[in-house]
């Protein structure tokens, strides 16, 4: 067949479409993992947290988080007497290297680990103009960094301050609940290294998960329930001063 100008004009777009399909191969995650059989969440037992910073260090290492940015961090609360509305909150380097002794040992002192709440109705995914952030069918809020424009809408939308713009890629980044680990049957890096069991990965769709017994028998809260985000990180023993 002779390639005339007219034929070339017809063939080029057709070839482009075909090539696109060749490139878009779906990589295998884990062969036996079923997206619809899980609904991931996390349980944080505040009275068990010792503020050692193991979770923050492990997260940074597992997920290659840039220095000075945190996918998870620990806050130290200091509440003096009745001033529950005005807690003193500090988080030096995200609690990565622990906490120096507080000047005032009186009052109420405790640690609160924070991370993405993997909201079922998350504000961050609703504002994304290009569909770069989304909740997976198994309940994890992820960022597609090849699609993210870096517009920062989601960073502003998150009421928990869990997102940041990665200065290396200029795309939004956040806790992925170690999606590359939990789909392989492992727990998250932070839960793996937590020495006291203050953090527990939980699968709400698994009837054998101890989370169900725990939720029945404990007074458990989520952060900012008035925002109706459907947060799935449950806090046990959380003081009213925690924001």
């Amino acid at each position: 067949m002779e390639i005339t100008r007219r034929r070339l004009l017809v063939l080029l777009p057709a070839a482009a479409v075909a090539w696109k399909y060749v490139l878009a191969g779906t990589p295998e995650a884990s062969p036996n993992y079923q997206l619809t059989e899980h609904w991931w969440s996390m349980l944080i037992d505040i009275p068990k947290c010792i503020g050692c910073g193991s979770c923050v260090r492990a997260c940074a290492e597992e997920n290659d988080v840039p220095q000075g940015y945190y996918r998870t961090w620990i806050e130290r609360y200091h509440v003096s007497d009745w001033r529950i509305e005005r807690p003193e909150v500090e988080s030096p380097d995200g609690g990565k290297n622990g906490f120096p002794p507080h000047a005032d040992d009186g009052g109420k002192n405790f640690f609160v680990p924070k991370l993405c709440n993997h909201c079922a109705d998350s504000p961050c995914t609703q504002v994304c103009p290009v569909g770069a952030t989304f909740i997976t069918p198994d309940g994890v809020v992820l960022v597609d960094k090849t699609y993210c424009l870096g517009c920062r809408y989601c960073i502003q939308a998150c009421p928990y301050g869990c997102r940041f713009l990665n200065p290396r890629t200029n795309t939004a980044e956040k806790c992925s609940l170690c999606y590359h680990r939990i789909t392989k049957g492992l727990t998250t890096a932070c839960c793996e290294v937590c020495p006291t069991g203050a953090r527990q990965l939980a699968d709400l769709k698994n009837p054998k998960d101890p989370i169900h017994e725990f939720l029945r028998t404990h007074a458990v809260q989520v952060l900012k329930p008035h925002m109706a985000t459907g947060a799935k990180v449950f806090y046990n023993g959380m003081d009213g001063s925690v924001r």
Binding site: F134, T136, Y147, T183, E192
Partner: protein, 155 residues
């Protein structure tokens, strides 16, 4: 019928070509897994899930280091995962011969958890390391995998 119908046909052809061009361009530009699960690229889930892990997980460690597991079972550190102190060692698990974990400095590692702080739970064992050990490394007296010091004859 229509006068000068040729004009209308030309217009129809132009619109038809524009429509076809739009459909072809859209198919070329939008990834074909977009919309598989929702308003996002479905293939992104698999891409994120296929990243390699850095922490091997304590089950992997325990498959080989059974002697340490037996030691830990005798003390309270049984609940502490290996990589909480030793660091991420999936590379060591993949190739134990060439990647060896480094020796830990107990003065740093132990203090991360056990340095006294008023915000720590009251029941958690804490010491002010400066007063407690006077600069000695923790493993001078304590065995990190089974830290409680047991005097002879008394268990």
């Amino acid at each position: 019928m229509f006068k000068d119908i040729e004009h209308l046909i030309r217009l129809a052809v132009v619109i038809a070509i524009a429509l076809v061009a739009f459909v072809i361009l859209r198919a070329a530009v939008v990834p074909h897994s977009f919309g598989q699960y929702g308003h996002y690229r479905g293939a992104a889930i698999g891409e994120i899930a296929s990243r390699p892990v850095a922490f091997a997980g304590h089950d992997t460690c325990e498959a080989c280091h059974t002697d340490v597991v037996d030691q830990k079972k005798l003390g309270k550190h049984v609940v502490v995962a290996c990589e909480a102190c030793h660091g991420a060692l999936a590379k060591h698990a993949d190739d134990p011969g060439s990647v060896q974990p480094g020796k830990l400095d107990t003065a740093v590692v132990c203090a991360r958890c056990h340095e006294a702080n008023s915000a720590k739970p009251k029941g958690f064992p804490q010491v002010a390391t400066a007063d407690h050990a006077g600069g000695l490394a923790c493993d001078t007296c304590h065995q990190p995998h089974r830290p409680k010091i047991e005097t002879e004859g008394k268990k």
